[in-house]
Subunit: 269 residues, 6 copies
Amino acid sequence: MKTPMKTHHRLLLTGAAGGLGSALRDRLKVNCETLRLSDKSSFGEAQAGEEIVLADLANAAEVDTMVAGVDAIVHLGGISVEAAFEPILQANILGVYNLYEAARKHGVKRVVFASSNHVTGFYKQSETIHADHPPRPDGLYGVSKAFGEDLSRFYFDRYGIETACVRIGSSFPEPKDRRMLATWLSFDDLHRLVSACLSTPVLGHSIVFGMSNNAVTWWDNSRARHVGYVPQDSSDVFREAVYARTSAPDLNDPAAVYQGGAFVKAGPF
Amino acid sequence: MKTPMKTHHRLLLTGAAGGLGSALRDRLKVNCETLRLSDKSSFGEAQAGEEIVLADLANAAEVDTMVAGVDAIVHLGGISVEAAFEPILQANILGVYNLYEAARKHGVKRVVFASSNHVTGFYKQSETIHADHPPRPDGLYGVSKAFGEDLSRFYFDRYGIETACVRIGSSFPEPKDRRMLATWLSFDDLHRLVSACLSTPVLGHSIVFGMSNNAVTWWDNSRARHVGYVPQDSSDVFREAVYARTSAPDLNDPAAVYQGGAFVKAGPF
Amino acid sequence: MKTPMKTHHRLLLTGAAGGLGSALRDRLKVNCETLRLSDKSSFGEAQAGEEIVLADLANAAEVDTMVAGVDAIVHLGGISVEAAFEPILQANILGVYNLYEAARKHGVKRVVFASSNHVTGFYKQSETIHADHPPRPDGLYGVSKAFGEDLSRFYFDRYGIETACVRIGSSFPEPKDRRMLATWLSFDDLHRLVSACLSTPVLGHSIVFGMSNNAVTWWDNSRARHVGYVPQDSSDVFREAVYARTSAPDLNDPAAVYQGGAFVKAGPF
Amino acid sequence: MKTPMKTHHRLLLTGAAGGLGSALRDRLKVNCETLRLSDKSSFGEAQAGEEIVLADLANAAEVDTMVAGVDAIVHLGGISVEAAFEPILQANILGVYNLYEAARKHGVKRVVFASSNHVTGFYKQSETIHADHPPRPDGLYGVSKAFGEDLSRFYFDRYGIETACVRIGSSFPEPKDRRMLATWLSFDDLHRLVSACLSTPVLGHSIVFGMSNNAVTWWDNSRARHVGYVPQDSSDVFREAVYARTSAPDLNDPAAVYQGGAFVKAGPF
Amino acid sequence: MKTPMKTHHRLLLTGAAGGLGSALRDRLKVNCETLRLSDKSSFGEAQAGEEIVLADLANAAEVDTMVAGVDAIVHLGGISVEAAFEPILQANILGVYNLYEAARKHGVKRVVFASSNHVTGFYKQSETIHADHPPRPDGLYGVSKAFGEDLSRFYFDRYGIETACVRIGSSFPEPKDRRMLATWLSFDDLHRLVSACLSTPVLGHSIVFGMSNNAVTWWDNSRARHVGYVPQDSSDVFREAVYARTSAPDLNDPAAVYQGGAFVKAGPF
Amino acid sequence: MKTPMKTHHRLLLTGAAGGLGSALRDRLKVNCETLRLSDKSSFGEAQAGEEIVLADLANAAEVDTMVAGVDAIVHLGGISVEAAFEPILQANILGVYNLYEAARKHGVKRVVFASSNHVTGFYKQSETIHADHPPRPDGLYGVSKAFGEDLSRFYFDRYGIETACVRIGSSFPEPKDRRMLATWLSFDDLHRLVSACLSTPVLGHSIVFGMSNNAVTWWDNSRARHVGYVPQDSSDVFREAVYARTSAPDLNDPAAVYQGGAFVKAGPF
């Protein structure tokens, strides 16, 4: 897949102040004429080709304003780690409902929803799963992402809003540990994947695992080929360094057995 | 399957004042020594072998009190029709979280969770589905039931609390229309199914479709045979009467095409 | 399933002069007010509740007349044994096209199409197959029935005409040999199956294997439960007699190895 | 399925002195003219319609003599519990090889091989499995039975010897504990199953789970319908009594979690 | 895969005067010593290494002459667009029967049959399908290609004639619209695919989707790896240009929803 | 995948004197500090970084000594061709039991077990299979390898010893015939595969087909992606030469029809 095209006039990026949001902020400008950035709190000035609309996801009116006038949405906003249920309920459950209601009212027809590998974190690291394996969330965060996937399915079946649920693995500058050799998604591949979801002619409602072209992997994207994602990076170049600075996994530790890693032991809060 | 046994000392039935709650109230007494009944608002006096603990599912403290001291839970409580998101959020999302947290704290190890066929209501009436087909909820209510299924999966994988998610079809005294010839679940079969879920030696986390032994059906329970549910009733005896008083479905109407029936056209609220 | 209801005003039965046609002629009167009978050549007088419209299936105009005014069609007409290609082409390929074109023009919305187990006759007798196994026809006749299944799929996807493709096993007064212990379909069960296809609320495009409730079987109808067919007869009562008068199959004979039996050795003509 | 027929002239039953052997000894006489009984050591006199040929399964010459002249074999012989590897190697591995070599040399074309549910004992009691799930043996005994299944598959593919691998559950006069409510196979159903395997027109190489018509079950025989086994008994009549004298399973005990029950904790020897 | 080898002495290419026929005419010379070209009407002179045998596919005698003496057949002949049934019946149904009968009589053992993506045109563009998904033809043309697939299956199971059914996507110099970004098959990849089918040691009866290595695709060839097709081209280099000159698909248009594109709306004729 | 790392202190290679053993002897030194070599009979001197411990696999005491002190095992030892049952019983059945018992006693936690494509040799060359297809061994050797796979599954489920069962295709300097174009595994890819199995963070119990990146293949490794094997070689460069010196397969020869090639006709011994 070549350089993405300016397929959208005005594109909304939520969670723009976070780690992935920052990584996508520059990269997504090539996909649109105007990139609308949003987050809960102020995070600086809009630059050329940008505009900023702050919004609390739990506030339906603010979300409505945030969504008005955009062509498509890349929704990274909300909580992205295991946490107590109340903030997850507000940001990831009520928040995603508010987002889809706003999309429905304003006629936005395509959403890239940042789901998570923690929707299926209780599968084993020696299993290969695909998009139709039933959810096995590894925490309240994972459950909330499964909720978003189900809600977006409803908005597709009922209202025709296309969504790609991207089950992001571990998107960091480089893999931090042996587990991330399997789950790593480079920032550039993240952008390639989001671009593919935004521009493929027909998206439907699709679940895609977000990982780079790593040799070791647990996820099978063969049911999402219509998205057209072709990763270009690989964790393999970091492999030797990661092995050198980490020790072998202890198979008596659930964090080594299950795909969710340490998330399967987090909380309760 | 014979008459159920008193497999539990104290059994909690939530939503006891509703239609299904009333149907189960008498029938479940044979399964336990004490049947604790709960609903949001006062619904009369406890009878012999009963006790009543009122609770608002959205109130964690009240739910905690409701759950304390029981051996197992039959959770019918919450909203059971398509509705606006706010009450669904309170009763079916926060409510079910409160219930599982209380179960975890009090060591309750088995739950029968009233899920719904509306979790998969956007499959077609000419499709046969089983428990592992991905959710296709037909409304916010269906999405909230999918949430309960996912949350209970997490509480099983993490904390070992067994749950049967019973995707109830149409549980009424008799089938009201042609669609219910497929989805009908007699009250006695409902009780048989709940009894099986309560008493099977090992339940794990299971999804079971709740229908009687109807000739026409859309659901395949062959992956839940360990539950031991054997329906004894059938909608077939009502078939001729239903046909006589209803007209043929119009296949241009989504309510005739999809399994969810009229739910696929409900709302938005 | 109880006695069928008069679900149709005018029902067309093609191939009415053949073996199965005769078996259905009396039985189908309970399903309709008027039973229109058709075959290629004259076969006697219409009786009470009947009307006769002769037609050569390869003649579009005659087929059009035959179809005009009916509510639904049970299509047994055409060639039902292995034969040379030319008559098969006329009766089973051009003929079924003419039938569906007439149905489309006249707004007939439901067809029961007599397909055949010979669509999948090259599966082995030790294999269990269901409706989605790819065709493995055992002759030109089987290929022509596969054509009818595919054509009717197109008329459903494009024009909404519902069809049940009934892959009839061996429908005779009783099973003649050991193979028919698996494939036998009693006349009464044939009628039950056709009635179910005619009256189930939503049929879609369905493939159903037509066999009685035989202990030995090769076919799995679990993907056609929405049809509501519940067989009541069984070849088992004939088992001992069949064994007594037949010898054990020779597994070096393809007719014993494959489901199609002697058809797999028929022809070429 | 009705009373079995005398489908064989001379039928060999190995392991005739054991528990299941004794149960089948009387019952199998209706299937043949002469029932040849075999075991390792002397176990009494032949009765009318019987003959006795003792053989050590590990002794090829004795096995050859045992097999010579029979039409079909029901092979219960060998070790049927977890044990040290050496005796298993002799009786269940070398022994079954000797048996098939003798069958090949003497032209015996059908074998009913007593396999075991312990071939798949490491699946969970909340899983439903069918014949094509990969083996997960729960001990050396289970591994040896998987060996017999694989060996017989080879003798079918290469030499055309048909085998039914019957994965026997728990065949006792009645279920002893809660696990056996799922795994129980009555002696009469055992006989029905063996009779079906012996007499079905085409057996091929088939894997069949041997259980009665129990409400709770973990096994799906839908891929072996060509065998024609229809169980008539059920553990359900014993259910209440079993519950009364046993306590609820402890899900921290592997014997309660896995299908193999206590076998998963047996040995090493 | 390297340059193809001259694996055949005399190779027949039907439909040689058409678009794909012309593309293959030069390229296939490297696969054989003599390339026999055929079409219905005269289309010029044979060149070095070529011979021409004209034939009307509906004429059995002409087809017989056309086939006599060749080692293998690449069958592009017949109608390749949606059309009225009569010409499709002659060219694609009677024609393909004539071809296989001639192959059977003359001992030709391998055929590459140009099937079409329109055999499965009523799957959605957001679905990934493989060779065993049931046919969902999008027109009479697609139905006729399904007929050819089924007929060739019969000739393989009965007579051992190997066939590759190549479901060609869109084989043009370059993709014309957004749909063709998924379906495009370059002429060189078409040749690679036909060469692989002609030369792989064992072909059996195989269904292969004919597309280049496009990023966006709907088809999964993983069940045809024994064919050894490795595409080298990709529609991706045309992507930006295609987007620039076309507008976004309207999901209310069946041509945008279904894989068959505009074919799903063609006719009736 | 880059150059392997010294992931192990002391690594045991059995069957070190054989063809594959010799190929791995040099290559595996980069994976460990000390490479312990073993075979049944003396095969020369240990070189730098090596040590030699001879052992007869059928001798438990010798195997125990062989295994003591190693971190991981690459088990190529035993018989690797079709042979009489007695030596297979000793080396491949008793031998692999002895190996796993020694591993259990000495706490060795990872084994790479040289299984074989002959475990599934009776699948057809036109079928694509994956790890979960049931075994169809093509001889006693194949049955013994299936035994090793099942035994290692038990040692994983019961004792947590991870094993990769590598179903080696044809590992030679180059492919010898047309069948090997599909089955060929270069020595370097063999080493890459073994290295991946030794070093992947979590191996579990995995079945992997051992072939290079050949265009024609019959095996699908998509369920073993967690192993991280990425082949770099291909039989394709040898294709033309192989075709030039061999003739086309005769499909009447079982060796051409089945994946096992000539093995399906070997023996009996």
